[in-house]
């Protein structure tokens, strides 16, 4: 053999393992032949995956344990993401509500407006002024009146005189 001449290509082992044996009961779907040298098409992989899970009840899943693990992880991941979303939503709701609490603002306190008294025709009436003066005196008397004369309370004296031991 001449080493300069191109050598015949020796058959290479397949890049991918052969497709698993599908049980005879399942209708074998035509699996498109994947070129041995190129990467598998994602669409074809999905189709393969879907076809693999289309199994009858009570039958052993044809899905490999690795795929099962992947599904499990995916489900857990999705559940975790869903949980996180719910929590974020709840937290957001709470924060929104908190911020919605009405901040007490100082209520306006009514300030006593001075009563405007318009004097009547009797404001300077002699009789009315005399009554007012009498009332002033009387109110003073009512305040100071003493109804209990403590200084003339009954004296405390010793009425028990005896010379017996």
């Amino acid at each position: 053999m001449n080493p300069d001449l191109p050598q015949p290509v020796t058959p290479q082992p397949p890049v991918h393992a052969p497709a698993p044996q599908i049980p005879s009961e399942l209708a074998p779907l035509p699996v498109p032949e994947i070129p041995k040298t190129s990467r598998p098409n994602p669409l074809s992989r999905l189709k393969s995956f879907v076809s693999s899970i289309k199994i009858k009840k009570g039958e052993e899943s044809p899905v490999s344990p690795t795929t099962k693990m992947s599904i499990k992880r995916l489900v857990i991941l999705l559940a975790a993401i869903f949980f996180v979303i719910i929590m974020v939503a709840v937290a957001f709701k709470l924060l929104t509500n908190k911020s919605a609490v009405i901040v007490p603002t100082p209520t306006p306190t009514p300030t006593a407006t001075p009563e405007v008294l318009v004097p009547s025709a009797y404001a300077d009436d002699e009789d009315v002024l005399a009554i007012e003066a009498a009332l002033d005196y009387l109110e003073g008397e009512l305040k100071i009146v003493s109804l209990r004369d403590d200084e003339i309370a009954i004296p405390l004296l010793d009425w028990e005189v005896s010379f017996e031991k």
Binding site: P119, Y122, E132, R148, L157, D158
Partner: protein, 254 residues
């Protein structure tokens, strides 16, 4: 002239003076009694007799001046009828005379047993006249409240006259003032009711039998009457504030 100058202030000074004398005499009596009871000697007995005589006389003096000061307080209080005053004066004067006579009857030569009897007589008399003292002490504030109520009624009458005059003139609305007048009258009436209630308690002290006195707490009854009179006075104060409001309404345009 001397009788005219004599007033409550002077009577009170006399009373305070006799109380001081009594306190000293009572201290001497307690000491002499103690020494006599310990020693039982003739000297300690003589000293005990002398100090007891001094104490009993001083005690009677306190009673005489006490009745005098109460009498003067009664005399200077308005709002009590002359009939009532004269009745109380007569009973007080009778007690003054009794204690004065009792004092004069205490002999310096009396034995210790005689002095004990003298003391017992005065003690018995004092117990019997306690209702009279509380009656006078209760009548005085009743008179004071009555005087204030009379003044209020007088002012209210003036106010009513003025309101009537204004109403006839027709230049000022008197509706509110008239309403306040009715409220004032109600307060005065309630005050009068309270005074009558207190008066009943005070008058019940008259003629209390000795056996009833033992069961009756006179001081408690008297304090109860004073509390009722204070309520009566409070109602008068409220009526005065109502009248103030009436005057305000008259003086301002509605």
């Amino acid at each position: 002239m001397a009788q005219e100058d004599f007033d409550y202030t002077k009577a009170y000074k006399d009373y305070v003076f006799t109380q001081d004398v009594y306190q000293k005499a009572h201290g001497d009596y307690l000491l002499a009694r103690s020494q006599y009871l310990d020693a039982q000697t003739l000297a300690s007995q003589t000293k005990a007799q002398a100090s007891t005589v001094a104490m009993l006389r001083a005690r009677d003096d306190v009673m005489v001046t006490y009745f005098t000061v109460v009498r003067m307080r009664l005399a200077e209080t308005d709002g009590i009828s002359d009939t009532e005053k004269n009745s109380l004066y007569g009973r007080l004067d009778s007690e003054i005379a009794w204690f004065q006579a009792h004092k004069d009857g205490i002999s310096s030569a009396a034995s210790l047993d005689d002095l004990v009897v003298d003391s017992s007589e005065a003690a018995k008399r004092f117990t019997a006249i306690e209702p009279l003292i509380y009656e006078v002490l209760g009548t005085i504030p009743i008179g004071r409240v009555e005087t204030l109520r009379t003044s209020i009624n007088k002012i209210l009458a003036q106010i009513k006259t003025k309101i009537e005059e204004i109403r006839v003139n027709g230049d000022h609305d008197t509706t509110n003032a008239e309403r306040w007048t009715i409220e004032t009258e109600n307060k005065i009436t309630r005050s009068l009711d309270k005074s009558i209630e207190a008066q009943k308690i005070i008058y019940s002290f008259q003629g209390i039998e000795e056996r009833d006195l033992r069961q009756m707490d006179l001081n408690k009854e008297y304090n109860g009457a004073i509390t009722i009179l204070q309520e009566s006075n409070q109602l008068l104060r409220e009526s005065a504030s109502y009248m103030r409001e009436i005057v305000k309404q008259i003086k301002t345009k509605s």
